[in-house]
């Protein structure tokens, strides 16, 4: 178990059902996202990705110790950013939300004791149009 998804579980599950693939390609395979992520559910084998509702973290639940990467999805999940100590954290900031406290949480983390990394130069990922990306490392 190395990945955990934290957010509103109803929405995360809906997103995992989405089919991905290139519809322009002839016979392009359309596979549900869940086929790659293998979320924890009733009929899974030994390995799976836990989908943890943010509210659960507020009630004292911690991420599994074997977890190396956590994806925090918007609103509620960032509140626990300071309590999450897995090596890689991906925060998905929804810019369309009228209230910017989510982004402010990230910037606070960026400004306190962190080292910037460039997503383009260091991670070799060019954000697509209308995506703003910010990368940094923090010492624990």
């Amino acid at each position: 178990m190395d990945l955990a998804l934290v957010g509103t579980s109803k929405w995360l599950r809906e997103d995992l059902d989405a089919l991905i693939g290139n519809s322009n390609e002839d016979g392009g395979d359309r596979t549900p996202l869940s086929a790659y992520v293998l979320p924890y559910g009733e009929r899974v084998g030994t390995w799976s990705t836990p989908v943890i509702p943010s509210a659960r973290l507020s009630e004292g639940e911690a991420l599994p110790e074997s977890c190396t990467t956590a994806i925090l999805d918007r609103y509620g999940a960032f509140k626990y950013l300071n309590d999450i100590t897995v090596p890689i954290v991906v925060c998905v900031v929804d810019r369309s939300i009228a209230d910017e406290s989510d982004a402010d949480t990230i910037i606070e983390a960026r400004l306190s004791n962190s080292r910037p990394i460039s997503v383009v130069a260091d991670l070799h990922w060019t954000p697509p149009g209308a995506v703003e990306a910010l990368g940094f490392t923090v010492s624990l």
């Binding site: 509103t8 989405a18 309590d83 982004a103 954000p127 697509p128 209308a130 995506v131 703003e132």
Partner: protein
């Protein structure tokens, strides 16, 4: 549309607006300009050191100006405006006994009267623009729920939906144009950097000078930053009244209705043991609350799906617009604590004893060294939440949120960690369990509540059947004081009546 399709659509509109920019219609409004000039001249003449006798008048005049900008419907659709104009006139009359130079009062009174006698020219322009684009292809965006309520009554006849920035998620297909009734500076930057429609137009009075389009808060730090350009179109009679101050005059003028906090009343001292530092929080429904820096507080997020709306917000995140779930007459913390103690049965006594012991030891330390030094020492040891050390003496705040903080704290107190540590964790778990039970009850009550009412009134009474939890309310935070006061512990987190939030919403 599935969520994924909505996201794809949102990226397409964001790319379109990032490329083509937004439009600003700056509409001439001579009466509004007269009021704006009178307020700014008054602020400039009185300067930073102005006497408190002006506060009520300026607050009413500012509320009137804010409405003129954000609710440009005809005056026949402005029932609350009459009341504010009356307040302006009443206060100017009262001030004539105190003030030597009455010309400022004359200008304020005359311009308030002029505003009440002429409809805003923004209204007809907005109607024309809507007709040009077609009712089904556009939406109107209001600054917040109270402004939306005012605009919607008027725009119902035009058949156009009026929304607030938080509601732009699910528009019907074919919506191409948003008319935002506020300057870019007074709405979230998301309206420009993640717009719901591929065209965005701001309709503002020409007398408002700041037309800058702000970027997202992540933008300045990010790669792929979005910068939106704004094209300004001046429309109608935009001549400024003769008393207008030159544009570059520096005036402390916020436009946005803000509470007046006066100055701090508490003396500069550390609180006594039955006291605590707390911020004053003004709430919808004519309520207020003292909020101490301790446990997170129960909150509601109406944007979440059913079943996920009730949660917690840390004290530092309680800001304007946060919805708090409160109980009239008693704090939630107290009731949860009592319930947890009951659930622990025979174990409760032992737990209570170790809790009392470490809290007493902490209180003694604080008495010896003072809070500041104690917090510094703890912080040096690695206790991240050391700033909350005073709150931990309180019986009902079980222990620090982070377990390692608690272990370090016990070490600093030179106390053996067991069974004190395990007892506290057991109690905390029991409280979490009790509050998870309450959360289910609240979710159920919230699922039956009407959010439109909450948005319009800023307050909503919940129907909860759970024993000990009758009288729960949801209320919107309107403002939070920039400084803390010293209040007694029994006062904190209990809502009480307070009228200083008048016209803030």
């Amino acid at each position: 549309m599935s969520r994924i399709h909505e996201v794809i659509h949102r990226y397409a509109t964001a790319r379109a607006v990032a490329e083509h920019g937004v439009s600003i219609f700056a509409v001439g409004d001579p009466s509004g300009a007269q009021l704006n000039a009178a307020i700014r001249r008054t602020l400039f003449t009185l300067g930073d050191e102005r006497s408190d006798v002006w506060t009520d008048l300026l607050q009413a005049a500012n509320a009137l100006r804010w409405r003129r900008m954000t609710q440009p419907q005809p005056n026949s659709y402005q029932p609350a405006q009459v009341e504010i104009v009356e307040a302006v006139l009443r206060h100017t009359k009262r001030l004539r006994h105190f003030v030597g130079d009455e010309s400022l009062l004359d200008q304020l009174a005359a311009s308030a009267t002029a505003v009440s006698e002429t409809d805003s020219p923004l209204g007809p322009l907005l109607l024309d623009s809507i007709r040009e684009v077609g009712e089904s292809a556009c939406i109107v965006v209001a600054t917040k729920g109270s402004a939306r309520a005012g605009l919607q009554v008027w725009l119902d006849q035009a058949g156009v939906p009026v929304l607030v920035p938080g509601e732009l998620g699910h528009l019907s297909a074919g919506t191409e144009q948003s008319y935002v009734i506020a300057p870019p500076a007074f709405v979230p930057s998301s309206l420009m950097t993640a717009p719901a429609t591929s065209e965005v137009t701001f309709v503002i009075p020409a007398w408002f000078g700041n037309r800058a389009a702000p970027c997202s808060s992540l933008g300045p730090h990010a790669e792929g930053r979005i910068e939106v350009k704004a094209a300004v179109y001046e429309i109608g009679d935009t001549t400024e009244p003769p008393e207008t101050l030159p544009n570059d005059t520096e005036v402390m003028d916020t436009y946005f209705p803000q509470p007046v906090w006066d100055s701090r009343l508490s003396a500069d001292r550390e609180p006594a043991s039955d006291e605590v530092m707390a911020w004053k929080v003004l709430l919808g429904g004519g309520l207020a609350l003292w909020l101490d820096d301790g446990d997170r507080i129960r909150s509601l997020d109406p944007r979440q799906p059913e079943g996920d709306r009730v949660g917690y917000t840390s004290v530092s995140d309680v800001t304007q617009g946060t919805y708090l779930v409160l109980r009239e007459g008693e704090t939630e913390r107290g009731v949860m604590y009592d319930q947890a103690m009951r659930a622990l049965g025979p174990r409760a006594e032992g737990i209570l004893a170790t809790q009392e012991r470490w809290k007493r030891a902490l209180q003694q330390r604080l008495d010896q060294r003072g809070v500041r030094r104690a917090a510094d020492e703890l912080f040096a040891l690695g206790v991240r939440s050391a700033g909350q050390v005073r709150a931990w003496t309180e019986a009902r705040l079980i222990c620090p949120q982070r377990d390692t903080d608690f272990a370090l704290l016990l070490e600093w107190l030179a106390m053996t960690s067991q069974p004190t540590y395990d007892n506290a964790i057991t109690l905390r778990r029991a409280v979490h369990k009790a509050s998870a039970g309450l959360r289910k009850e609240l979710e159920l009550a919230v699922s039956q509540a009407n959010f439109r009412t909450l948005e319009r009134d800023g307050i909503l009474h919940l129907d909860v059947s759970h024993e000990g939890f009758r009288g729960m309310i949801v209320t919107r935070v309107l403002a939070r004081s920039p400084f803390t006061e010293i209040v007694t512990r029994s006062q904190v987190r209990l809502p009480f009546s307070d009228v200083s939030a008048q016209w803030l919403d």
